[in-house]
């Protein structure tokens, strides 16, 4: 088998990457693997995570190309990075890129992390509202639970709590 990168030398490194059950296979010669930079576990060469990512991103572009904005014209208005630059570099230019590329990011995050929404730590100072929102979501789930179990008294209390929290958010 020839190296999928240069197509000249025989592939001596074979590895597959499995993200949430999606398996991708890579067949590279040692020279190409080393050139790629960072890491394949267990080899002396390397293969940068950004290369893997840009593979994923390009794939995304092909898959969705017909339906969405041309990646050349999709661009972060703050730092000027285009989506196609992002997909080559595998890195964002600034925090606003997340906003401008938002529509394209769910499939990418799904592939890389198996998830699209942060559930961890929230900054203490700016995070007040986020915490309240999360609290509301938890209460809503409990509300649904108590309705399902016909515990209407609890449900009424939960509903009041939710209203109070929602009022706090709109006042800010």
């Amino acid at each position: 088998m020839l190296c999928q990168e240069c197509g000249k030398r025989p592939a001596s490194l074979h590895f597959s990457k499995i993200v949430n059950g999606d398996k991708s296979e890579y067949h590279l010669c040692e020279a190409c693997a080393r050139e790629k930079g960072e890491l394949i576990p267990g080899t002396s060469g390397g293969f940068s995570i950004h290369n893997l990512l840009s593979g994923l991103l390009n794939f995304e572009a092909v898959e969705q190309g017909k339906r969405t904005v041309n990646p050349e014209s999709l661009r972060c208005e703050v730092c000027g990075m285009t989506y196609s630059q992002f997909s080559k570099l595998g890195r964002f230019g600034c925090s606003s890129c997340y906003k401008y590329f938002n529509n394209r990011l769910d499939p990418l995050f799904k592939r890389v992390h198996g998830s699209t929404v942060h559930t961890g730590k929230v900054p203490l100072r700016v995070g007040g509202e986020i915490k309240t929102k999360r609290q509301i979501e938890t209460l809503k789930r409990r509300l649904q639970d108590s309705i399902d179990h016909e515990e209407f008294e609890t449900a009424a209390q939960l509903r009041d709590q939710i209203r109070e929290l929602e009022r706090q958010i709109t006042e800010h």
């Binding site: 499995i18 080393r34 930079g37 960072e38 890491l39 394949i40 576990p41 267990g42 080899t43 002396s44 060469g45 390397g46 293969f47 995570i49 950004h50 990512l53 703050v78 730092c79 000027g80 990075m81 570099l89 595998g90 890195r91 964002f92 230019g93 600034c94 925090s95 997340y98 906003k99 990011l105 990418l108 995050f109 890389v112 992390h113 198996g114 998830s115 699209t116 929404v117 942060h118 559930t119 961890g120 730590k121 929230v122 900054p123 203490l124 100072r125 700016v126 995070g127 986020i130 929102k133």
Partner: protein
């Protein structure tokens, strides 16, 4: 103005202390990535931006609460020569990327070397905490407490939905990379390692060799870390890693017991041969040195070799890296002599000398 104390000696505080499960777990490390809201990420930032990032973060270091972590010594990467950068990487105090690729990069390292705060790496701020043995939760708690202090002073790039925004999509969310370095010679010898490592990689964790950049697992040392940073909370990530590491510890212990009960003679022979080679070899390359050191470390753990402190193995792990080796012999090493000096240094450390 740079402080060279960290490259003057190979020992880090963490190497001297034992730590939990230190016969199998060498060290526990946590790194969190953060960016400042108002500046572009380092990749696109101008030098002016990066200078402002440095200034802003330098102000935070005056916060008296940081005193609890000991004196933080500043190092500007632009004023550091290649040898010293290399040695800081070999000690895991800075990342290869900060050493080689950063513009306007800096690091603040605590006296005991357990805390490094990197500025203008791939992200504006990376807080790293490195502990001996199996203390991943403690490392996370400390890094998180330092993170809270920074957050009091600066506004992070944070999004309700995506969490902490990072330059690379693989770090977004928690920005947390937790990793545990393990010495697994018995699992390698009994050929169970591949099965275990492939199981590990299917549950959102990755395994690699110790010297980050694509190094193979030299000397039976494996670094296990989380791959997923979005959609799991920090506590879930740490717990998941902890429970997997605990299971691997269990397997390694069982494999060591089996080796001792079923192949004691062969294991003893292997350990002693390696001890002999390290004690008397005149030339040794880094790969062989790592393998022999692993055998001797195992021999010490199994009680087959005494009179050598396990910490000597940690020290040699760092000392036999090119940067430290070069420094140990005052830079007198010519190209092609590295393997000779490596052998010499190991002989010295193990108390043998060759006429």
């Amino acid at each position: 103005m740079n402080d060279l104390r960290f490259t003057e000696q190979p020992f880090s505080h963490w190497m001297r202390t034992a730590g939990n499960e230190s016969e199998i777990v060498i060290s526990s490390r946590v790194r969190i990535a953060r960016n400042l809201q108002k500046h572009p990420f380092p990749l696109l930032a101008t030098n002016q931006h990066l200078e402002e990032v440095q200034q802003e973060l330098r102000q935070v270091l005056k916060d008296p609460r940081l005193k609890a972590y000991g004196v933080l010594h500043p190092i500007q990467l632009s004023e550091t020569d290649d040898l010293n950068k290399k040695m800081l990487v070999e000690k895991h105090l800075i990342s290869p990327s900060l050493a080689n690729e950063s513009r306007n990069g800096a690091v603040y390292i605590s006296e005991d070397e357990s805390l490094s705060i990197m500025v203008n790496e791939e992200d504006h701020l990376r807080i790293q905490c490195l502990y001996p043995g199996f203390q991943i939760k403690e490392a996370w708690e400390k890094a998180s407490a330092v993170d809270d202090i920074f957050e009091d002073h600066v506004t992070y790039a944070f999004d309700d939905k995506r969490g902490y925004l990072t330059s690379c999509p693989t770090n977004v969310g928690t920005g947390l990379r937790a990793s545990v370095m393990m010495h697994l010679p018995a699992l390698v010898l009994t050929q169970q390692i591949n099965r275990i490592l492939s199981a590990v990689s299917q549950i959102g964790l990755t395994v690699r060799g110790i010297y980050g950049e694509g190094s193979e697992a030299m000397g039976n040392l494996f670094q296990i870390s989380n791959q997923i940073t979005l959609g799991q909370s920090e506590a879930e990530i740490i717990d998941n890693l902890r429970s997997v590491v605990l299971q691997i510890i269990g397997h390694e212990k069982a494999a060591r017991e089996r080796l001792m009960s079923e192949s004691r003679l062969r294991v003893t022979d292997r350990v002693m041969r390696s001890f002999g080679i390290l004690s008397y070899a005149a030339v040794i390359d880094s790969k062989e040195a790592a393998q022999r050191l692993s055998d001797v470390r195992l021999g010490i753990n199994l009680g087959l070799i005494d009179g050598i402190a396990p910490q000597t193995m940690n020290e040699l792990m760092v000392l036999t890296q090119p940067g430290f080796l070069y420094k140990s012999f005052n830079g007198k090493i010519e190209a092609g002599e590295m393997d000779m000096y490596r052998a010499k240094l190991i002989r010295q450390k193990l108390g043998k000398s060759l006429k």
